[in-house]
Structure formats: structure tokens, C-alpha cells
Symmetry: C2
Subunit: 462 residues, 2 copies
């Protein structure tokens, strides 16, 4: 145990129920340059609320388009659900600090303390709630690694809502346990591409042996929602509404820090579509946007799917079937598929429009990390802190360790916060490969990336 342990600060800071946030924080309200709007691919005009309402619940459309209201009240029912697994603890990583012999103070916000095993539940319950409020029968969605599908199944079971999940076929077959968790919560899980949709049938005809992709599963889920009476589509990342719901992560963290008079210097989050990173940084970024306080934000992504660090900032399709609106984002192209040796999530070709704008405006740094480095950090963390981290979260761990080691060199006592988004219980195949020395790194060549970039739509200004 670290000698210099601060006896005034608990190991894990839990908020009291009365201290928990009652509103979500909408970062867009404080952005001088707002994120670019979604465009209708046919007209290249901003999507209207009416157009979006064919796909999304009405209240969620409002949230998606709302660039003005800084605080959005969290409905009481959602607050009550949050109490089932929140507050998430803000943990001081004393043992990691000691292991690294760093003067840095490392904190992590741990979002893995619920059965879905990740932060995804924060938005799943909100989206399911609004669907229920609208009197819908159910929702459709896609899932890759399975965290989002699990979270949504759980939320729908709680609210008595039907849940149809299109699961990328290779995950459906390789991650049968994730599938069974969803079935435990009563969801129907279909491997994608499937014969249930036009897009699925078309893809299966063209590529009979395909094992699917996230972009294809999105297309199937959207098509099913549009064609089914009483259903809407929900998405676990990328969208503005998702970042809004996930702001609960950052708000709880900030309240906990404020309570003890602490402010982080560096805030680190892994970035796939941006749901966790956007949520974690929200209130801190708000202060930075308003010029009240500076923070050093670091987005961490895999070198095998480097949207921020090697993507282009342009309007692109969110799905491979091209049925979704165009979003302006850092993108590798909707045709980009990460190498098969890439484990875990963070495989999406694009990135949240909000985070993309913030990155373009210089508010954040981004770093890309090799897979084996990520698993080394994961194992190091597990052995001292006791939590088996998800590969996604371990990207943030790696950079937190790097920053703490820099402090060791300089002697600076920086306070570091990183998001520990979830647990790695369903990623043991990847851990096994790592232990057996069978895990490899793959960094796409410029030529590899060009294939994806070639698929980005060309129109004036893009």
C-alpha cells in the first residue's frame, strides 16, 4: 500500500444518491463551432426532425438536433434505473501508482459494475425509455462485440419492450456467450447478414460466405425498424444523443472530484464511435469551452482502426448499406474493415460528429496504440488493481500509464483521470492469444486506407 496514501480521500469515491446528477450535460450548447448536421444523402440537405422520426424516437430526435440547451433533465424513471447500478465508483489507482513508482495521481471511473459489463447501459436505458414513452412495441439495433446489444437487451427487459438485435455474424458465432446473455434478457438475436432484410439478402447473394460487418448490421437494423409497425432503431454510439446520455459518466466524476477539491490535469478515454470518451470528458470540456479551466484531453484509438489519427474529416455514410444519413466526421470510409486480428471493439470506421469537431478545433489530442501494447497494459493493470479490463478500456489504461511514467521522469504530480469503460469477461479468447504469444499487431498501410477513402461520397465541399 502506498505510504503517501491520502487518508482523507476514500479508495473509491461513491456519490450519495442525493448527489447524483439530475440532468445530462449537452456539450454542444457550449461549442462555438457546432458539430455539422446530419445530411440526407439524396438531397444533401440537413435531415429534418420529421425525416429522422421515421428511424428514431421523437424525443431522441429532439435531443439529436438540440445544440442549444445546456442541461437536459434526466426523467425520474431513468434516474431510478441508474440507481440500480450507479453511481459508478471513481477509484484512486493507488496500487498502480505504487507499481509505477510515479508521483502522478491516477484515478479511473469504472463503468463495468453492471451485467452488461460496460458504460453502454447509460444510453440503452434512456433510448429504451423514450421508445416506451412513445408507445412503441420495440426497438432494433446492431451489435458487434456485444456490449451494446447486451445493455439494450437488459434495458428492454426491464421496460417490457421487444428487442431485435442484429449481431455481426462472426461475433454471433465466435462470441456465443454474449448472445446467450442477450437471450437471457429476452432479446431476439439474428446473425447479420440475414435473410430477414432486403439488404441482408442482397449481401448474402453477392458475398455468400461473408461473416458480416458492423456497417451491414446497422443497415439491417434500420431497414427492420422502418418496415416494422411500432419499432424504431437505436444506436449505441456516434450520435449526439448518445454522448448526451453518457455525460452522466463525466458529471458523476466531476461531482466526486469537486467534493474533495481535486481537478484532473489529464483526461483520457478510449474512442471507437465516441460514446465513452464523449461522456467522460463532457463537463470538463464544457469548462474548457467556456474558458473557465484548461484540461488536457487524450482520445486513444487502436492503430488498426485509426479514425482520428489517420482518417479524413468529411461527410461519410454511417453504414455500409448506405441507408443512414451522412455524418461529418473523422472517417476511414464506410468500406473500411479493420484487420481480422483486431480484438474487441473500437472497430467503427467513423467517429462522433461532436468529438470530430472538437478535435478539428484543437480541443483534444488523439493517440493510436498497437494491440499488443494494449494487452500488456491490461495485464499490468489487472494484476495490481484487480479488475480485468475490457480491451477497449485498456487503450486508455496504456496512455494513462505512459503519462504517469512521464511524470516519474519530470517529477510532476499530475492528476490523471481515465475511463475504465468495462470488463473483459467476454474477451478471454483475445487474452489467451496474448498469453500464448499468438497476438499480432497490424497497422494498415496507406494503400489499405485509400480503399476506404475511395468510398467516401464526393460532392462539393466534401
Amino acid at each position: 500500500m502506498k505510504d503517501q496514501r491520502d487518508q482523507n480521500i476514500p479508495y473509491k469515491i461513491y456519490l450519495e444518491e442525493s448527489e447524483m446528477p439530475k440532468t445530462w450535460y449537452n456539450m454542444r450548447a457550449d461549442m462555438k463551432t457546432k458539430p455539422a448536421p446530419l445530411l440526407n444523402p439524396a438531397t444533401l440537405q440537413p435531415m429534418t426532425a420529421e425525416e429522422l422520426s421515421a428511424v428514431f424516437c421523437e424525443e431522441l430526435v429532439k435531443q439529436e438536433l438540440d445544440n442549444d440547451h445546456r442541461e437536459i433533465p434526466i426523467p425520474q424513471e431513468i434516474q431510478d434505473f441508474y440507481k440500480m447500478y450507479r453511481p459508478a465508483p471513481l477509484v484512486r489507482a493507488y496500487c498502480l501508482e505504487e507499481k509505477l513508482q510515479t508521483p502522478a495521481k491516477i484515478y479511473y471511473k469504472f463503468e463495468g459494475n453492471n451485467t452488461s459489463g460496460s458504460h453502454k447501459l447509460n444510453s440503452a436505458i434512456a433510448q429504451a425509455y423514450y421508445a416506451k414513452q412513445q408507445g412503441l412495441k420495440g426497438v432494433t439495433t446492431e451489435t458487434g462485440a456485444g456490449q451494446w446489444g447486451t445493455a439494450l437487451s437488459m434495458a428492454c427487459a426491464y421496460l417490457g419492450l421487444d428487442c431485435k438485435v442484429f449481431m455481426v455474424k462472426c461475433s454471433y458465432e465466435q462470441k456465443p456467450f454474449r448472445r446467450e446473455v442477450m437471450r437471457t434478457y429476452g432479446a431476439s438475436v439474428t446473425p447479420s447478414p440475414s435473410t430477414e432484410t432486403e439488404i441482408g439478402r442482397k449481401l448474402l447473394e453477392e458475398h455468400p460466405g461473408t461473416t458480416g460487418s458492423l456497417g451491414c448490421a446497422i443497415s439491417e437494423a434500420v431497414e427492420t425498424a422502418i418496415k416494422s409497425e411500432g419499432y424504431r432503431y437505436v444506436l449505441g454510439s456516434v450520435l449526439n444523443q448518445v454522448l448526451l446520455h453518457q455525460s452522466i459518466i463525466g458529471m458523476e466524476s466531476k461531482i466526486a472530484f469537486d467534493k474533495y477539491g481535486i481537478a484532473p490535469d489529464i483526461i483520457i478515454g478510449c474512442a471507437g464511435g465516441g460514446s465513452n470518451l464523449g461522456g467522460l470528458i463532457s463537463p470538463f470540456m464544457g469548462e474548457k469551452l467556456r474558458g473557465e479551466r484548461d484540461y488536457h484531453f487524450i482520445a486513444v484509438e487502436p492503430k488498426s482502426c485509426p479514425s482520428f489519427t489517420r482518417g479524413v474529416y468529411a461527410y461519410d455514410f454511417c453504414d455500409t448499406g448506405m441507408v443512414c444519413p451522412l455524418a461529418k466526421m473523422y472517417t476511414l470510409g464506410s468500406g473500411f474493415i479493420p484487420a481480422a486480428n483486431h480484438a474487441g471493439g473500437l472497430r467503427y470506421h467513423g467517429m462522433s460528429s461532436t468529438l470530430s469537431q472538437l478535435y478539428a478545433d484543437g480541443y483534444m489530442e488523439a493517440r493510436a496504440i498497437e494491440q499488443t501494447e494494449v494487452f500488456k497494459a491490461a495485464e499490468q493493470f489487472a494484476r495490481v488493481e484487480g479488475i480485468l479490463p475490457a480491451p477497449e478500456s485498456s487503450h486508455a489504461i496504456k496512455v494513462a500509464i505512459d503519462e504517469a511514467l512521464k511524470c516519474k521522469e519530470t517529477g510532476e504530480e499530475k492528476t490523471i483521470l481515465f475511463g475504465l469503460t468495462g470488463t473483459g469477461y467476454f474477451d478471454m479468447v483475445a487474452y489467451q492469444k496474448f498469453h500464448d504469444g499468438l497476438m499480432s499487431d497490424y497497422i494498415p498501410t496507406d494503400e489499405d486506407l485509400q480503399v476506404g477513402f475511395d468510398g467516401i461520397p464526393k460532392f462539393p465541399g466534401n
Copy 2:
């Protein structure tokens, strides 16, 4: 959300660090009839501290033999480690109550919020700590379903102690993910029976195709500890010392209840070797033993391995290799092996001597439940409470639901507490069988049981 929700009681009660127990509670100190001592199988005399010290750490031997001291201080280092994942929340199951439409108030103590996924870590860290204090190089143990091995690996990684786990071969092969978690924490994991021990080699010669048993893995771990310089053997259940460490579960629960002026009427725990049940009931049983307050205790076991409900109370071997001392307990005989269709843990043939004595003296009730009923309860619980329970824990859930439904009939507002010992992340094969209708129940016949009983040693008074 339940209308009658009590706004003064948080959804989840977390103790403050300052409220956490600083001592373990030793139930034996309050027992009028002490649990029967371990016997040396060669001499049939009580095992001495010296004899036990060849197998166990010295401090743990003291704890094992201590029937007198009511409170044993928890060393500061263990208290600090506990802070990494404790306090465990005491949760009011409002959603389950609402689903059942019961006037009963249901609480559960959730021990699954750590990577090992169960309560086993409470004793693992204590046993590893004392081994470290004694200057040992490492410890050996066995694991079946894998919860104990995972917990011990984690504790050893934290303390820099070597950890050798003998894992029942069928689990080693069928639960590769559990094995990988242990490897992540740096443990060596050997399938049992192995060629590393005399007992293992003998068994493999006699039964070349055997997939092993818990009793055999215990024998191998004990042999390895005795023969290796600087190693001792540790065990995750059954022993008095384990119940002592696990008393943290019940003590935290009691402090949390007391804080809000609540007392449970019924306390329910699943029972395999007794580690969770014994820990959960400890301080409440103490009050009952001292005549201060009455509680209704219910031990729940699988119908396929019914030590309490169909076993005999006698001295028996703890392992199949018969290298361990004899323990007086409710036992099915060390040769009893539950049917292959039995999923999860709770497969041990015997039961804690302390709990056996309490049961013999009428302080507890015991019930046995069929496997499919257990999984039905598990799924019902998961859908409303959001936690995916371990099959072991779900035995307690089933009886908690039964008792809550009785209250619905009688209109009684009883307060029910049950132990939710862990999560079911590594039990999805069993859940899948249940979903697919492939799960069956097996209740051993009297003839089946007789085979086990025939192996119980015969000597005067047994």
C-alpha cells in the same frame, strides 16, 4: 418502480470506509456445542497445530483451531485490499418485489463486484496475506468451477506470491476462459489429475480417461504443498478459517441494516462447502446463539448434491486421495460425484463442520432445489434486477422468491435477505442449455447415494 419505495433508504446501501468492519467475527466463540475437531486419519486423534502447519500457514492454523475468540482483528493490509472492491452493496430488490407483487421486502448482498466474480476473494486475500507474512514463496490450491482459483490468483498477483492451481480437468477443458483469467493474474494452472503428483499419476494409471474431480484436485494440491519448499496449501471453503474471513459479508450487511434500523426476518444463502452461507449468516447467527434475537436461516443446495438434506452427519475424508484430515460434517461420501448434467459449483460432497453442527443443533433449515428451477429464478431475477447471477447464487434467489410469494399469500411484510454471491459470466454454456430446453434435472436415487455412503470411514462413534 415500486410506488411504496422508501425514500429514506438508498437503492443500494454502501458503507462509508469508516463504517467498515475492522474485525472478523468468529461464530464458534458463541456456539454452545463447538464444531467437531479435524481428526488425523491415522490416529483418529484431533489434529494438532503442528500437524496442520505442514499443510497450512501458521496464522491460519491458529484461526482454524480458535473456538474462543469472538473477534479477530483484520490486519490493516487486508482492510486496505478490501477497500479495492468492498464494501459490497446491500441492494433492495425493489424491481423483483414489484414483479412478484409481494409485500415482502427483499434485500441482497451482492458479492460479484470484483473480477473474480464472487465472494471467494474475501478469503483468498486473507490466506495469501498470511502466506506472505510467513515468508512463503507461494501457495497451492485446487479449483473446480474456477471462482476460487480466480480469486486466489488475483490475491497472489497483488502480493507477488506464486500460485499453483490444480483445475479439475473437465473444467480446464470446458472453461478455458476461467483458466485464462487465472493466467492473466500470473498463476500456473495444471489440469487435474496430472503427472506432477504421485496421486495424480496413480489415478491416471488406474483411470486413464478420467476427467478429474474436486476431491482429486485437492489431493494433488496438498501433496504439492507438502513436497515443495516454501509452499502451503490453501482452500476456498469448508474450513473454519474460511468462514471467519467470509464473516465480512454478514458483518457489512448487519452494519448496513442497523444503520437504517432494519432487521431481516429470513436469511438465505446457497451452500456448497459453506463459505458464503457461513459468512453471510455469521453475525446474525451470533445474535441467535446468544439468545438476543431470532432469525430464520435457510441453506439452499442443489438436489443433485444434497449434503444437508440427504447426507449423513459423520467424520469423512475431505478429498478423494484421503491425504487430508477427517472432518465431521454432513456428507455424501468422498466418493460421491454429482451427475454430469449439474452445472456450476456447489458440487462438494461435504459441508463446513461449523455449519454442520449448527444444522444438527436445529439453528438452520435446509432446502434442496432442482436445477431447472434455479435457472428459471436466475432468468427472472436478471430481467428485473439487471444482474446476471451465477448458478450457485441462483439457488438462494429461488428460495427468496418462494418466501416472498408466501408473504404475498399471507400478506406478511417480512424482510428477506439473501446472498448474491457472484455473477454468471462464465456460466453461459449452462444458460444456453437452459434457453434451448436442453437442461435436465437429476435427483440421485437412494442407491446412488449409498455408493458414496459406503466410502465413509467406519470407526467407533462414526
